[in-house]
Amino acid sequence: MVQIHEYNDEKNVGSFCINDNMDLLIEVLKRVDGRSLSTAACVCRQWCSIVRNDSLWEHLCFRHVSPPPVGVRPVVSALGGYRRLYMVCVRPVLSRLKRRRIGGGGESEVVTRVWNQHEVELSLSLFCVEYYERLLVGGGRGGATAGDSTASSLKFLCKPVNV
């Protein structure tokens, strides 16, 4: 009886809610893949506001880049932010490159793959062209107004791979 009582006491004292520990949540989210991160944004308002923090997406884009790119942050922020960079360029580029080499596999394989300087540069260039095309079309400032619609020059990335 004493044991159960103690057990109950432990439960009351040691109750844990992740929402009270934002630092821990952020550390966890830094390690998940893009799909999980997007899913996490749908859990509740608090998680949504955390996921919208661009530094999480920066981490997602470049945590496996060796060496990590320097001075990229202001450029990417000006062109639309890391979340947009991931959605519009990094994810399709990586999955297309991976499919060429391995042929199949889920997104978890995409995340663990280390990608090199050339691939980073190419993704950034494509991202910049996409930003410019949005400028040409609407005159909108980077990111917010044009929504998530992909500019036409990157349509080729979104098409199904015709192997």
Partner: protein, 530 residues
């Protein structure tokens, strides 16, 4: 298009004598369609009237049956010992083969094919058996429609070259009929229809008439160009390779000036601005001078593009200045318009523009030499040249036509894998305009005078430029760019420091980089010639 090559060259060789003879024979009789020599076989050297075709087909069918059943020894005798008189006379030749093989032709051979009234026995036999034979023989003909199409295209082009426009007109009708039978959604049907259209325009219009051939405004041309940029990788390859070479040439320079020979919508430059922004040591001061055609409606389209590029440069903290130079022809541009300063490093960027200067000489001399001369005077650190890898500037029309047919068929093949509409349709329209210019136009109006890389190398070396090797970074980037495209048929190759992009080992676009060799300084005093 590989297997068609031999048929093109073989057909082109044999058409010259026979089509003139068929033209003669049809001109001596009053024009009655059933009695006319069949155009398709005439091109191959056989004189057969259209209403005798089923008889010929029947005889060939019987010959095939007999040969299949015969003793192989007899056949080899046929090959070695038989003497055939006048093989161009197809029906009697087949009959002679049949008699050699000891069968009795039930129908007497009409010895004179130009006899307008074949005897009644022939007619009755033929009509009794015609429906069955049409069915038997029709199938192989349909499978070969694409080969026929190419063949008749070559015959028609050859007629155009000789100036026989009436025969060419008749052949156009045949071509339209053939196009109706082939799948015009892809492959030879689609390319064929563009070439047929171009040939018929050439027959109808004068090739030097500029008003007819330049029918799109600069704005519409930009739209087509943009969709061509999106649907296939050729322009992206050109831009990315050029940017990589320019970036490497500008290493360590604080003031840089890029001169773009065809600004269009400036799609090449955002990536360079971004790469300069991220360059170790910080971005330089970038000046861009964009050359383009003047806008007719008073809009300063060059300046508008400049403003957008400036906005982008501002976002990424690159000091940027833009200048637009409006000129309808590149040789109208004078060096003082570019306002280069001696302290800056200069890059000249020509994406598919230099070939437009290979036209007829102006009063000041060949336009290409003039322009290369002032480029050399600017002393650029790099001259980037991207051109179509094909020879569409040969003096003989038929050679140009053949080369263009092969080149654009390959390009359309590569475009087939693109599924995004309307990009694909508008990209095809863009290519179609190029085809029209190569086929329909002459003189000043023909601006698409593509030449292959080897010719450009000679020309640039003679003009005082030294080749710069495009490094491995450019090569890797190009290869990576191509893996992003759905199709597996693209190939990047390195060719003596130049990069070519092709489809299934046929190069279609070639990119090369050049450096100006400074001119020797002028000697003081008069030059004394020994």
């Amino acid at each position: 298009m590989g297997p068609h090559d031999s048929s093109i060259s073989a057909a082109a060789g044999s058409t010259s004598s026979s089509s003139s003879s068929s033209a003669c024979s049809s001109s001596t009789k009053p024009p009655q369609p059933p009695d006319q020599m069949d155009h398709l076989l005439a091109g191959a050297g056989y004189k057969v009237r259209s209403n005798d075709l089923h008889q010929v087909a029947e005889r060939l069918h019987r010959l095939e049956t007999v040969m299949v059943k015969s003793n192989p020894l007899e056949i080899s005798d046929l090959v070695n010992d038989a003497v055939h008189y006048n093989p161009a006379d197809l029906a009697s030749w087949v009959d002679s083969l049949l008699t050699e093989l000891n069968t009795n032709p039930p129908v007497p051979v009409p010895t004179d094919l130009s006899d307008p009234h074949p005897n009644m026995n022939n007619m009755m036999y033929a009509t009794n058996h015609a429906p069955h034979l049409q069915q038997v023989v029709a199938q192989p003909f349909e499978e070969d429609v694409s080969i026929q199409l190419v063949h008749v295209l070559m015959t028609c082009a050859e007629a155009v070259q000789r100036g026989d426009l009436s025969l060419a007109g008749l052949l156009i009708d045949d071509l339209q009929a053939l196009l109706g039978r082939v799948n015009s959604g892809c492959g030879i049907g689609k390319v064929g229809s563009f070439f047929v259209d171009a040939l018929s325009r050439r027959i109808v219009n004068s090739p030097e008439n500029a008003a007819v051939h330049s029918d799109l405004s600069a704005y519409e041309n930009e739209i087509l160009y943009h969709h061509y940029y999106e649907a296939c990788p050729y322009l992206k390859f050109a831009h990315f390779t050029a940017n990589q070479a320019i970036l490497e040439a500008f290493e360590g320079q604080d003031c840089v000036h890029v001169i773009d020979f065809n600004l269009m919508q400036g799609l090449q430059w955002p990536a360079l601005i971004q790469a300069l922004a991220l360059r170790p040591g910080g971005p330089p001061l970038l000046r861009l001078t964009g050359i383009g055609p003047p806008s007719p409606d008073g809009r300063d389209s060059l300046r508008e593009i400049g403003l957008k590029l400036a906005e982008l440069a501002r976002s990424v903290n690159v000091r940027f200045a833009f200048r637009g130079v409006a000129a309808s022809r590149l040789d109208d541009v004078k060096p003082w318009m570019l306002q280069v300063s001696p302290k800056e490093a200069i890059a000249v960027n020509s994406i598919m523009q230099l070939h437009r200067l290979l036209g007829p000489n102006s009063s000041r001399g060949p336009p290409i030499d003039l322009v290369l001369d002032w480029i050399r005077d600017l002393n650029p650190r790099i001259l980037m040249v991207v051109e179509q890898e094909s020879n569409h500037n040969q003096p003989e029309f038929l050679d140009r036509f053949t080369e263009a047919l092969y080149y654009y068929s390959t390009m359309f093949d590569s475009l087939d894998v693109c599924t995004a509409q309307p990009e694909k349709a508008l990209a095809e329209l863009y290519i179609q305009r190029e085809i029209c210019n190569v086929v329909c136009c002459e003189g000043l109006v023909r601006v698409e005078r593509h030449e292959p890389l080897v010719r450009w190398r000679e020309r640039l070396i003679n003009a005082g430029f030294a080749p710069l090797h495009l490094g491995s970074n450019a090569f890797k980037q190009a290869r990576m760019l191509l893996t992003l495209f759905s199709a597996e048929g693209y190939s990047v190759e390195e060719n003596e420091g130049c990069l070519t992009l092709g489809w299934h080992s046929r190069p279609l676009i070639a990119a090369s980089a050049w450096q100006a060799i400074p001119k020797p300084s002028p000697t003081m005093g008069p030059i004394i010639h020994p």
